[in-house]
Amino acid sequence: MILEAKNLSKIYGGSSPGAFYKALDQFNLTINEGEFVGIMGPSGSGKSTLLQILGTIETPSSGELVMDGENVVAMKQTQLADFRREKLGFIFQDFQLLDSLSIKENMLVPLVLNKKSNQEMEERVKQVAAYLGIEAILSQRPYEVSGGQKQRAAAARALIHQPSLVLADEPTGNLDSKSAKALMELLVDLNHQEQTTILMVTHDPVTASYCDRILFIQDGRLLNEIYQGDRRADFYDQILLVQSSLGGELYDTKIPRF
């Protein structure tokens, strides 16, 4: 087990009375090593909030969170930064690459922060770039490459320091279906080969169907949980079923593409 969260709650705007909002409500979650977990739910249901709390970017209002055997809630800012730097990798919907750096330098940032040697940096870049197929654009700037390439570069940055947990918030949200498929296949491959634990928020049933397990959340609470079977197409149907039972109009169901 890599992550265990108990009774996580997040209340926004608590400082001004009357105007607070419960984004997360007594949420329980356990993730085992090597799992690929998806999170789905309508807009505003608290998915990003959950991901940010698990990513130690946001602090929970109450509840417990243990990751890799460490009690995250009790940590100070500096310790949290160290923890994120060593153990976590992030992929965002809008890529979040630094325009001031080349693709390669963007990938290097986590290694620079972890004070790795130059030699190790070069080796890792070569390895990861080859794996993600972005060797050709390493010297380019983020604004000079396509969205799919950007997201692969962002994924490379999230993986380069071999984190225990990769957190992805709608990684395919800004990609066309072809790029989305390529990225998902890469993530699945990574998950299988390197046993990297992945937690991903998504709206897209196709993207979600790559996961081992999907959590459905609504109004900050866990509603349902479904597991991958033998066939991905069946899993996809199952996802659609759950979605429609939760009020399908909240989702933009796309035509499946396999």
Binding site: S48, Q52, G55, I57, E58, Q77, T78, A81, D82, F83, R84, R85, E86, L88, F90, F92, Q96, L98, D99, S100, L101, E105, L108, V109, P110, V112, L113, N114, M121, Y143, R157, D169
Partner: protein, 636 residues
């Protein structure tokens, strides 16, 4: 790659927004260094320099230092806001605050070191001209030689190093306050439509009206008292003018639908509404800077140019003598021998008495009295109305330019003087103000009594001081006579101040305002650059959201030139509004400070204003070009 190279790449990437900041930094270093090199110059030990001047230099250096601190501090916080996204991302990826601070420190040191280097280098080259200018302004017999003192370089380097150190340390707090999860939120937040309160709008209008009214009516005597008043009201009025009045005006404009919705005005105004509120503080700051620069340089320049006229008005007689050691015939001979032609000559007597009413006599126990006839003589020379004084009456004469030319009445009081145990009491109601004669210790405050009273006092043995004043057709020749008179006084062991003249006053004003002009131009330039780069920053900070907006409009079918036009118009307004408001402010400031001129002198002010306008335009065009260039670079 290391942290240091990360910092370096950041600077390179943001070089276009750094450029304005960099330029102002260099200039701040340059000015600081120039004054420092003067402070460390061995020539200052020379008698030539009055202590006040050296004190003045320290003051200027302190102002420049304070300014550098505030300006660079402001710029840094603006940059941090600009790069919130990048820095937040690095923090999410696991960079601790301590390391972020260190990175910012390295960036500061890198930019700062370069600015200090260039600033000192240009300072070394420029110091020759700077010293020449100082020598000219101070009318030194020989120009100050160039002297490269180690001390000034060390002072400049260590001052700016400490400054960057302190500012980096301060940045820690603003970073800790910031929540990093904010970085991941939707970047375009819903902004509430700005509202205005009618009370604040009124407050703004009333404050400005009060400030203006005071600056139009205040005389020199009241200036120190009313100055703070005027400034406070002006600041309040301007601030609420930007935050409240501007929104009220736009709301009013919105009621004019036809005109309002024509063409791209729709976007412009809806943007402007937010823009004015978001930028209120910056517009306020830039307005204040503009007002200060225009007023200070305008006033100093005006007085410098007008020092001859002002001198003539303050001391209307080319030579005046109190208690002359020479008799009439001797004086006449001197005038003849110098070939001077008299155009006016006045002679009268002052009686010296004592009073117990010191408080009514500017706290002076000695009273100087003149007769009604003498007063009328003086009034006639100044082309003012004659006056008739009754036997039991006394008029106070305030003979100096610090008071407005006027005749005032007050509640009737008594004024008592003593002459050899005998007391005389008169009714005091009238006050006569304005320059009637050259200002001597004995003629500053005089008391005019009727001729009969004057004769009576004289009979009682009051001391008589003879006074005379001359005007000549060729005032420049009068200088020789004045110097001669001063020698006469010295040889008789008497106060040489008993003899004065127009030339002395003229020289006094020139000597006072030439260094002031010099300093105000330098500090004015500094302020100008700061104002410009504050606007530049602001625009470059808003550029990304601007770009998104314009791209959206572009997608909706607005042509690119038109989209750019919206941007350009915003830049134009951001530059023009503070300039206009600042011009009006400084214009009233000029009327406030032109008490010695009895009329605002617009020619010299307009010249200063025009130069400022041209410089401002240059800055505007440069900014516009950079912004359009930056927008274009990302669009492709």
């Amino acid at each position: 790659m290391t942290l240091k190279s990360l910092a370096f790449k950041n600077i390179r990437h943001h070089s276009s927004s750094y450029s304005a900041y960099f330029l102002s930094c260099i200039f701040a270093v340059l000015v600081f260094f120039l004054y420092a090199s003067l402070l460390f110059h061995p020539i200052l030990k020379n008698e030539l320099f009055p202590d006040q001047f050296i004190l003045f230099l320290y003051l200027v250096e302190a102002i420049v230092a304070l300014f550098a601190f505030l300006f660079i501090g402001y710029s840094q916080s603006a940059f941090l806001r600009n790069r919130k996204q990048d820095i937040g991302l690095l923090q999410i990826l696991g960079m601790p605050v301590r390391q972020v601070v260190r990175m910012i420190f390295w960036e500061n040191i890198l930019v700062g070191a370069l600015a200090v280097l260039i600033g000192i280098f240009t300072g070394m080259i420029g110091s020759k001209f700077f010293f020449l200018a100082v020598s000219y302004v101070l009318r030194l017999p020989a120009p100050i030689p160039v002297n490269l003192s180690f001390g000034s370089i060390i002072l400049t380097i260590s001052f700016f190093f400490c400054l960057f150190l302190i500012l980096s340390w301060i940045s820690r707090f603003s970073l800790q306050k910031q929540s990093i999860s904010q970085v991941l939120r939707e970047r375009v937040q819903e902004k509430k439509k700005p509202k205005f309160s009618i009370w604040f709008v009124l407050l703004s209008l009333v404050s400005i009206a009060i400030a203006y009214w005071f600056s139009f009516t205040t005389s020199f005597a009241g200036i120190t008292k009313n100055m703070i008043f005027i400034l406070v009201f002006l600041f309040i009025g301007t601030y609420f003018g930007y935050t409240q009045l501007s929104i009220a005006v736009i709301a009013l404009l919105e009621k004019l639908p036809k005109w309002f919705y024509r063409g791209t005005n729709l976007f412009l105004f809806s943007q402007l509404r937010f823009r004015l509120r978001d930028n209120a503080r910056i517009l306020f700051l830039v307005t204040i800077f503009t007002s200060i620069v225009l007023t200070a340089v305008g006033v100093c320049f005006t007085y410098y140019i007008e020092s001859d006229t002002v001198g003539e008005e303050q001391a209307p007689y080319h030579i005046s003598v109190v208690a002359s050691p020479l008799n009439q015939a001797q004086m006449e001979k001197k005038i003849q021998s110098l070939g001077l032609k008299r155009t006016a000559h006045i002679q009268f007597q002052i009686l010296q008495l004592k009073t117990t009413d010191r408080n009514k006599n500017m706290n002076n126990p000695v009273v100087y009295a003149i007769s009604n006839t003498a007063l009328n003589q003086l009034l006639q020379q100044e082309k003012r109305q004659k006056i008739m004084i009754h036997a039991d009456e006394v008029i106070q004469i305030r003979n100096s330019g610090i008071w407005n030319k006027a005749q005032q009445k007050q509640e009737v009081q008594s004024f008592t003087v003593q002459q050899q145990q005998e007391s005389f009491q008169w009714k005091w109601e009238k006050i006569m103000q304005g320059v009637l004669f050259n200002e001597h210790d004995q003629t500053r405050i005089m008391w005019a009594v009727s001729d009969a009273t004057f004769a009576k006092l004289q009979k009682r043995g009051a001391g008589v001081i003879p006074v005379e004043g001359y005007r000549f057709s060729d005032p420049s020749k009068g200088k020789v006579l004045l110097e001669d008179m001063k020698k006469q006084f010295q040889s008789h062991n008497m106060n040489e101040k008993n003899s004065t003249g127009t030339i002395l006053l003229q020289a006094f004003f020139r000597d006072l305002f030439s260094p002031l002009l010099f300093v105000s131009v330098f500090i004015g330039l500094l302020f100008f650059l700061a104002a410009g780069s504050i606007l530049f920053f602001r625009l470059s900070i808003e550029l990304p959201s601007e770009r998104r907006q314009l791209e959206l409009l572009n997608k909706l079918g607005l042509r690119e030139e038109e989209a750019n036009k919206i941007l350009v118009r915003q830049i134009k307004l951001l530059f023009a509004i503070p300039f206009l408001v600042g011009s009006i402010h400084s214009f009233t400031g000029l009327t406030l400070f032109s008490f010695l001129l009895h009329r605002p002198v617009f020619a010299s002010y307009l010249l200063v204003w025009f130069i400022y306008l041209v410089l401002g335009m240059l800055y505007y065009f440069w900014t516009k070009r950079s912004m359009l260039h930056a927008i274009g670079r990302f669009e492709s």
